[in-house]
Structure formats: structure tokens, C-alpha cells
């Protein structure tokens, strides 16, 4: 009988909110992209395909597109090869240290990509710790490898994106009925046969989801190709360079191409997300994890897990190490010879070194609040009021997620560099507002997803109970809806804040010296060969991210009690 629940005759204030949410989302999410598309067809005031012809007839452009695609495909493969076995290890076996190691293995999902890139640079780069160790061990004249080009990008991608496969496979395994394993065993199947005939086929939906997500993330990846690519160009770096060299029309066409490819990938992903298959029908009778028994396995399993996780977190440990290096002392030695806290002291000592920290914190906070407010308003409209066009609204919330950061940045830079109030365009380029807008857009899918999930779990009769006790809409929102949404808000806000803090891809297109965030400062310290300072900023970012995340988790738990 709940079929008719929802709004009937909406007050004018409700209509105003609906109109405002639609207007803001269309203005922020759709409008800039339309501007880019329009610009890509425009030359000297006429509509033309000239730019497209030019792009498609330039070999280097096609090479960049092809590079993006094959790098992404290879990234999917490599990430799966790391992530899936790791997930099976942690999901199937009980051994000492499992929980800690399992949590550590999921860590890279939180780390800003740029921090990952420089961490790997410090470990495996030409003058990285591991490279030097190997060089001195083998007595080589020159480093055994150079961390540059396609293979370097692939290595970094695999290092940071295996997490998607790891987490998706873990989630998929958790949904499996443990009795499946017992059924397979009772039918005489050994471990290998159970894996290939039962587990992997049932994990297919999860793995397909991870593959698509990895592919999209890789297509959008900018940090690794930018820092390590050298002459090797992918679409994101190609767009950035076109913009830098003032070839605006080319940048527009490349942006449209990249966005198109990404959206083509999102489509099957969105469809897949709708169908949750292989949910465990029975609950908690059989144990999912088996304790390891044989002596051989008792040593091998924790060892494999420990070594595997160590290799995965080693770059970040290296970053920590380098952050303590005294400036100018580490030249040819394998390991840095002198350590100091000076790098950290300097971060906070002077206005110009503290500025990026302040900028990042402030802009991420404002963007998080904006994305949260929008997401909550949209959640109310979509789930509670079930307004017409709610599917469109949901799409608008999710769309920036499918668009690479470079696309978002170029679209904003193009749209908000003109003062045309009649067309809802203002000059935001050069102000902090354009960065805040970019962060808001990039975090909107995170807060949107959390808000929708929260609203959907919220029992509508709680709000009705409040109304029956005389509480008006505002009081109900304040006393019942928001408190009940707190876990979802906390989860969404902490993810959004973390994303904003480390944002690099859009920032590099939109920043000015005054508005530079931490990620940009890391890059410029790296350029000045001030490795210690770059590492210290990186570690600070890691700490802030971890703090925001842990705080969010606390809040989630306290709210759901």
C-alpha cells in the first residue's frame, strides 16, 4: 500500500528547490561540456569539421588515442593478475596477521595518484632506492632500468589500480555462499578445480565491474603519463599539451574524443551495476575461511601475503624515508646518509610553504560541503519526492565520474573564461572558485552515491512519525532525516574531502600561483630537485587523507549505532 507514497501537491518552496537543483546540476555538469563540444566545431564564427579532420589526419594524435587504449587494456590485465590472487588469498585463508595485511593491501585506493607516482619514482626511479640497491649489488655502471615511457606508466598503473580488482573480488567473494566451496569439495573437486569451475565463474560480474572501472581510471590517468611518460603521449597528456601550446581547438576535439571513449565504457558499467548476481541465499552456516593446516602452507601463506603486501606498500615507506632526508646530502649513496625533521618544519614555517596546505584544505572543504548539499538535495528529490526527471538527476550526479579530470578541467576553463552573465558565464579562471567548482564536480558522484544509498535505507515511516508528532518539514529534516543520514553523509564527505585534498589532474589545468594546491606544490618541489620537501608534502597528504578517512569511518560507525 506504499505505492502512492510521495508528494502530491507540492508547495512553491518545494518547486523552487526542484528547479534550483536541476538548474545548478545542468549548469555545472552539462553546460561546460556542451561548451567544449560547441567550441570543437567552431572556427572563425562558423560551424566546421575542420578541427576533427585535422586531428584524425595527424599521426601523433591517433597514436596518443591508441596509446591510451592499449595502455588501459594492459593495465586491466596486470591489475587483475595482482588483485585477484591477493583477494583469494585473504578471502579463503585464515592466518596470523590476515586482518592487518588485508587492510594494508586496500590502502592505495585512498592515496592520491600523484603521491603514488612520486613514491614509485623514489623507489624505482633512475636514482630510486631499489634501483641503486640493485645497481650496487650487481656492480653496474648505469642504472639497470629507466623508469620512463609506456612500461613505467604501466608499472605505476598496475601498482595503484590492482586495488579495484582486489576490493571488487573481495566483495564478490563475500557475497558467495560459502556452502558452494563445501558442495564442490563434496563432489570431489580439488582446490584448482573449485577455483576454475566454481569461484571464478561466479566472480565474473565482480571482475567485469573491476575491469571496466580500471579501464576508465586508466583512460583518465594523468599523473603517471605526465610525470613518467617522457615523449610517450596518451590522450590526457595530449590535451594538456595542446592547451599549453595554445592550440585550443585541438584541445577541444581531443577532449570530446576522450570523453566519448569514457562514456562508451561507462554505459556497460552502469548496466552491470544494476544487476547484482550470485547473492548468497543462505546465511553464515558454513565458514568462508579455512585455517591453513599443513606445515608448508602455514609458512607459505602468511609469507606470500606479507611479502606481497610489503611490495605494494614499499613505495609509500620509501616516500616516508625520503621525507626525512637532509636537503642536498643524498647524492650517489644507495641509501640517504643524513636524516632530519627540517623538511616538515619548513612546511609550516613560512607563508609561501604553508599556502598550498591551506589552499587544499580550504578548497577541498568548501567543495565537499557544496557537493554534499547538492547530493542531499538531489537525494530528497529522487528518493523521497520521486520527482519527474529523477533518472536524469541521478545521471547528472554520476556523470562527472565518467568524465576524466582533464575533461572536467578543460570544460570549466573554456566555459568560465568569458564574462557573459546572460549566458550564465563568468570569469572564474584565475580565482579559487574554478578549482572549488572542479573539486565539487569531481566529488559529486561520491557524495551523490552515498546520499542516494542513505536515503534509500531510510525508513520513510520515521519521517511520517515526526510529521504525526507535529514536526514541520524543516524540523523533520533537522531532527530525523539528517541524523539518520549521518553515516551516509560521513562516508560520502570523507571520500569527497580526501579526493579534493589530493586532486591534481584538474588542478594542473586550473591553478594559479596563489591558488596552488598541495599536489601542484609537490610537483614544483620535484622540479627543483627538493626531494625532501616534495616527499614531506606527500607524506602530509597521506596523513591528512588517512585522518579524514578514519574520522569518517568513526562517524559512520557512531551514526549507525
Amino acid at each position: 500500500m506504499s505505492g502512492g507514497r510521495g508528494h502530491q501537491r507540492m508547495a512553491w518552496r518545494g518547486r523552487l528547490l526542484v528547479a534550483a537543483v536541476f538548474a545548478i546540476l545542468l549548469w555545472a555538469v552539462v553546460y561546460p561540456n556542451l561548451t567544449v563540444i560547441a567550441e570543437s566545431f567552431r572556427a572563425d564564427g562558423t560551424i566546421t569539421l575542420r578541427h576533427y579532420v585535422q586531428v584524425f589526419s595527424t599521426p601523433s594524435e591517433l597514436r596518443a588515442l591508441w596509446s591510451s587504449i592499449w595502455i588501459s587494456a594492459a593495465t586491466v590485465l596486470l591489475s587483475a593478475l595482482i588483485g585477484v590472487p591477493l583477494a583469494l588469498l585473504f578471502a579463503r585463508f585464515e592466518f596470523p596477521g590476515r586482518r592487518v595485511l588485508g587492510a594494508l593491501a586496500a590502502m592505495p585506493v585512498l592515496l592520491p595518484p600523484l603521491v603514488g607516482v612520486i613514491a614509485i619514482l623514489f623507489l624505482y626511479g633512475e636514482s630510486g632506492v631499489a634501483t641503486r640497491l640493485l645497481q650496487s649489488f650487481l656492480g653496474l655502471q648505469s642504472p639497470p632500468w629507466r623508469l620512463q615511457g609506456a612500461s613505467a606508466i604501466l608499472a605505476v598503473h598496475a601498482y595503484s589500480m590492482y586495488v579495484y580488482f582486489y576490493l571488487f573480488a573481495l566483495a564478490g567473494l563475500a557475497r558467495l555462499d560459502p556452502a558452494m566451496f563445501e558442495a564442490a569439495a563434496s563432489l570431489g573437486a580439488g582446490n584448482a578445480r573449485t577455483l576454475t569451475r566454481v569461484v571464478l565463474p561466479m566472480l565474473t560480474p565482480s571482475l567485469a565491474g573491476a575491469a571496466l572501472l580500471t579501464f576508465m581510471t586508466s583512460m583518465a590517468s594523468f599523473s603517471a603519463p605526465y610525470v613518467l611518460g617522457g615523449g610517450f603521449r596518451v590522450m590526457t597528456t595530449q590535451i594538456f599539451n595542446s592547451k599549453l601550446q595554445g592550440e585550443v581547438a585541438m584541445a577541444m576535439v581531443e577532449t570530446v574524443m576522450l570523453a566519448t571513449v569514457s562514456l562508451l565504457v561507462l554505459w556497460p558499467l552502469a548496466r552491470w551495476e544494476g544487476s547484482r548476481e550470485y547473492v548468497a541465499p543462505s546465511k553464515g552456516t558454513s565458514a568462508m575461511r579455512v585455517p591453513v593446516r599443513s606445515l608448508w602452507a602455514r609458512v607459505a601463506v602468511p609469507l606470500a601475503a606479507g611479502v606481497g603486501v610489503l611490495v605494494l606498500v614499499l613505495p609509500h615507506l620509501t616516500l616516508l624515508l625520503v621525507s626525512f632526508v637532509r636537503d642536498g646530502t643524498w647524492t650517489t649513496q644507495t641509501l640517504p646518509p643524513a636524516y632530519t625533521l627540517e623538511n616538515y618544519r619548513e612546511l609550516f614555517a613560512e607563508t609561501h610553504t604553508f599556502r598550498p596546505i591551506f589552499n587544499s584544505l580550504l578548497m577541498a572543504a568548501v567543495a565537499t560541503l557544496a557537493a554534499l548539499a547538492l547530493a542531499l538535495a538531489a537525494g530528497q528529490l529522487i528518493v523521497r519526492w520521486r520527482v519527474r526527471g529523477r533518472r536524469l538527476l541521478e545521471g547528472l550526479l554520476a556523470l562527472p565520474w565518467a568524465l576524466p579530470g582533464t575533461v572536467v578541467a578543460i570544460a570549466l576553463a573554456t566555459t568560465f573564461s568569458a564574462h557573459q552573465p546572460w549566458a550564465a558565464r563568468w570569469v572564474l579562471v584565475g580565482t579559487p572558485w574554478i578549482l572549488i567548482l572542479a573539486y565539487t564536480l569531481r566529488t559529486l558522484p561520491l557524495t551523490g552515491r552515498a546520499a542516494l544509498a542513505g536515503y534509500r535505507q531510510l525508513d520513510p515511516s520515521l519521517e511520517e512519525a515526526a510529521a504525526s508528532l507535529g514536526a514541520g518539514p524543516w524540523r523533520t529534516l533537522r531532527r530525523v532525516t539528517i541524523p539518520r543520514l549521518l553515516p551516509a553523509i560521513a562516508a560520502g564527505a570523507s571520500l569527497a574531502f580526501v579526493t579534493g585534498l589530493g586532486e591534481f589532474v584538474a588542478s594542473i589545468v586550473l591553478y594559479t600561483h596563489r591558488t596552488r594546491p598541495i599536489s601542484i606544490e609537490i610537483l614544483s618541489q620535484l622540479r627543483d630537485f627538493d626531494l625532501g620537501a616534495a616527499a614531506a608534502y606527500g607524506v602530509l597528504l597521506m596523513v591528512l587523507v588517512a585522518a579524514a578517512f578514519i574520522l569518517g569511518q568513526r562517524w559512520v560507525q557512531s551514526g549507525s549505532a
Partner: protein
């Protein structure tokens, strides 16, 4: 009794399907009326229209002479107890009960004392600081009631408030609920699908079927003089056999011919008069029938198909007259397979004749 809450031909249509059709009902001051019916009959939709959560497509809700049809729920001042209680899990017991008092803008001391009184009323004193999740199902139910009653609402609405409790607790709680609501003299509308619950609680019962109000009245009236076949079978047990009308109904009693020389008097519904020769279905309460020697006058012969022990008596299922009857008896002598004769004990009491439409079969 003065009508305090009036529903005037309420209609609510969901996606082309009417959930409630032209429903009119009056609830007197201090009266407890139960909306009873199977799931999907429109009883919860009706309650939600009274509360203001659903707006009727047509019709009016009038309280104390005032039309509240377009009024939002928070302005109506009705207390409501939800099926799953809808206690605010993030608030303590006291904060839950105080919620409606705070919206009324009462002072702190006043709120505190009224929360205390409400908790005393539901016999849970001293639970102010507890979290609602630490309470048992029965306690949660009482807190939900305390919360609804604390602001002294004009009308109390309850939506299957006992359905989450186990059987034993349910029976005890509904007696307490009735005496409590009667004690404070609250005008109450209570939704349930449980006939026994309705019998125990209500001053009057409104039986709904497919969005239509079949009959309203005290439980006894509904049981003894059901207006429709549905009411007859939904409230209490009734077997059925086919017959034809013999003679003209007189004083609401009609003679029904069940066989060559078998005629039983039965109560006829006032709303749809039966004519001579009309095909009827004769419904009989188990306690209105008795076994008799098969050569006695007006005996309907049949065969026992089932014997059920029901504590102080037995209920026999007897296949007879092209239908199936149930007979209540103190004796355990008959057993399945036996041929038996059945007669009314005190006709026409407990026997109801309803017109049988052309397409209907003879059976029950």
C-alpha cells in the same frame, strides 16, 4: 454518540487502481473503531488519508466539524503508532517521547513531567535514558504508544501496532491497549487484519474489502447479522450449502430449500432483498448446527470428512447438500467416513442466506 471524526466518501486511486472507493465512516468521540480486512483491502490507505500522508482523490476528512482534508499531517494533531513503530533510533526513549511535546513548544519542565506521565501510562517508568534499541519488541511498542499519546492528540491512529509481537504477548497487549485508550477516552482508529484483535479491541468494526466498506458495527452485530458473504466468512467460521428461496422473506427471515423436503429458515440481508425461487448460498456457523438422527424432520444428510479437536469441543467438517458445513459438537463419537444428519440448533440464528450469482458453483 456525537461523530468526532467523519470520513466522507473518500476515494484514492493508485495508478488507475482504486485502493479506496467512496468510503464513508463516522467515529464517535472516545470511540475505538477498527478497520478490518485482508491485506490490500485499503485499510492502511484509509488510515494514511486520515493521518494526512495520503491525499484523497475525492472526499473529505472532517474532525470535530472542521475539514482537514488539505491539511498537512504535522498540523492535524493526530497521534500515530506505526506498524514497525518508527521509533527514532538515534534518540533515547525520553527524547522520542518528548519529540511531539517539543514541536508543541512546551517548556522543559513541562516536557519532562509529561514524558514521565506518558511512560507511567504505558507502565515503563524510569526508562527515559534507555536507547530504544535496547528495549524488547513489546516495550518498543509501548514507547511508540507513549510517544503518540504524550502530546494529547485529538485522534489516535494505529497501523497494525501489534503485528510484530508474538502471539501470547499480542493478546495481553491488546487488552492493556484497550483499557488504556478507554481510560484516557481517546478517539481511536485501529487498522488490523486480525479478526480476533478487532473483536477484543473495538467498539465498532469496519470491514473493508477491495477498497469498499462492507459493513460497520459492533463485533456482535457483524457476527450475528453479517451484511455480506465476505463479512460472514471473514469474521468467524461458516460452512456453506446451496439452496433456493421458498416463500417471501418475512421479518428478515427467509426459508431456504436445500433438498426435496428440507427447508431451513435463515437470516436474509436487508440490503439485497431475496425473491421467491432465487438461488441462494446458505452459510452456517458451526455452533448453529447440531447432529441429529437422519430420520428426523429437516435433516440434511452428509458424510464426515474431518474431525478437529478444539479444546472443549470438536469441529466436524461434513460434506452435504453439494457443499461443506462445519458442525460444532461436544461429542467425539463421529469419525471421518461416517454418515450423519445435520440440523440447525435454533434457526434462523447463525444461518445466513445470500443471493448466488449465475456463474457461481454450488459449493462453498
Amino acid at each position: 454518540m456525537r461523530a468526532f471524526l467523519e470520513l466522507e466518501s473518500l476515494t484514492r486511486v493508485f495508478a488507475g487502481t482504486p485502493a479506496v472507493r467512496e468510503l464513508s465512516l463516522q467515529v464517535g468521540e472516545h470511540e475505538i473503531v477498527t478497520l478490518l480486512g485482508p491485506s490490500g483491502c485499503g485499510k492502511t490507505t484509509t488510515l494514511r488519508m486520515i493521518a494526512g500522508f495520503e491525499r484523497p482523490d475525492s472526499g473529505r476528512v472532517v474532525v470535530d466539524g472542521r475539514d482537514v482534508t488539505g491539511m498537512p499531517p504535522q498540523k492535524r494533531g493526530f497521534g500515530m503508532v506505526f506498524q514497525h513503530y518508527a521509533l527514532f533510533p538515534h534518540l533515547s526513549v525520553a527524547e522520542n517521547v518528548a519529540f511531539g511535546l517539543e514541536t508543541a513548544g512546551l517548556g522543559k519542565a513541562e516536557i519532562e513531567s509529561r514524558v514521565g506521565r506518558a511512560l507511567d501510562l504505558v507502565r515503563l517508568p524510569g526508562t527515559q535514558g534507555r536507547s530504544v534499541s535496547s528495549l524488547s519488541g513489546g516495550q518498543q511498542q509501548r514507547i511508540a504508544l507513549a510517544r503518540a499519546l504524550a502530546p494529547a492528540p485529538k485522534v489516535l491512529l494505529l497501523d497494525e501496532p501489534l503485528s510484530k509481537l508474538d502471539a501470547a504477548l499480542r493478546e495481553q497487549t491488546r487488552r492493556e491497549l484497550r483499557s488504556l485508550v478507554k481510560e484516557i477516552g481517546m478517539t481511536t482508529v485501529y487498522v488490523t487484519h486480525d479478526q480476533e484483535e478487532a473483536f477484543d479491541l473495538a467498539d465498532r468494526i469496519a470491514v473493508l474489502r477491495q477498497g469498499l466498506l462492507d459493513q460497520v458495527g459492533p463485533a456482535e452485530q457483524l457476527y450475528r447479522r453479517p451484511a455480506t458473504q465476505f463479512v460472514a466468512t471473514f469474521l468467524g467460521r461458516a460452512g456453506a450449502v446451496a439452496g433456493t428461496v421458498e416463500g417471501v422473506p418475512e421479518d428478515g427471515v427467509v426459508m431456504c430449500r436445500l433438498g426435496a423436503d428440507i427447508c431451513w429458515p435463515a437470516l436474509a440481508p436487508a440490503s439485497a432483498p431475496l425473491t421467491k425461487g432465487a438461488a441462494v448460498r446458505l452459510l452456517a456457523r458451526p455452533e448453529a448446527l447440531a447432529f441429529a438422527p437422519s430420520d428426523q424432520e429437516a435433516v440434511l444428510n452428509g458424510q464426515v470428512t474431518e474431525r478437529r479437536f478444539a479444546g472443549s469441543f470438536y469441529v466436524y467438517r461434513v460434506s452435504a447438500g453439494g457443499g461443506e458445513l462445519e458442525v460444532q459438537s461436544d461429542s467425539s463419537d463421529a469419525k471421518p467416513g461416517d454418515r450423519v444428519g445435520v440440523v440447525p440448533r435454533a434457526a434462523p440464528a447463525g444461518l445466513f442466506a445470500f443471493a448466488r450469482s449465475a456463474g457461481e458453483g454450488d459449493g462453498a
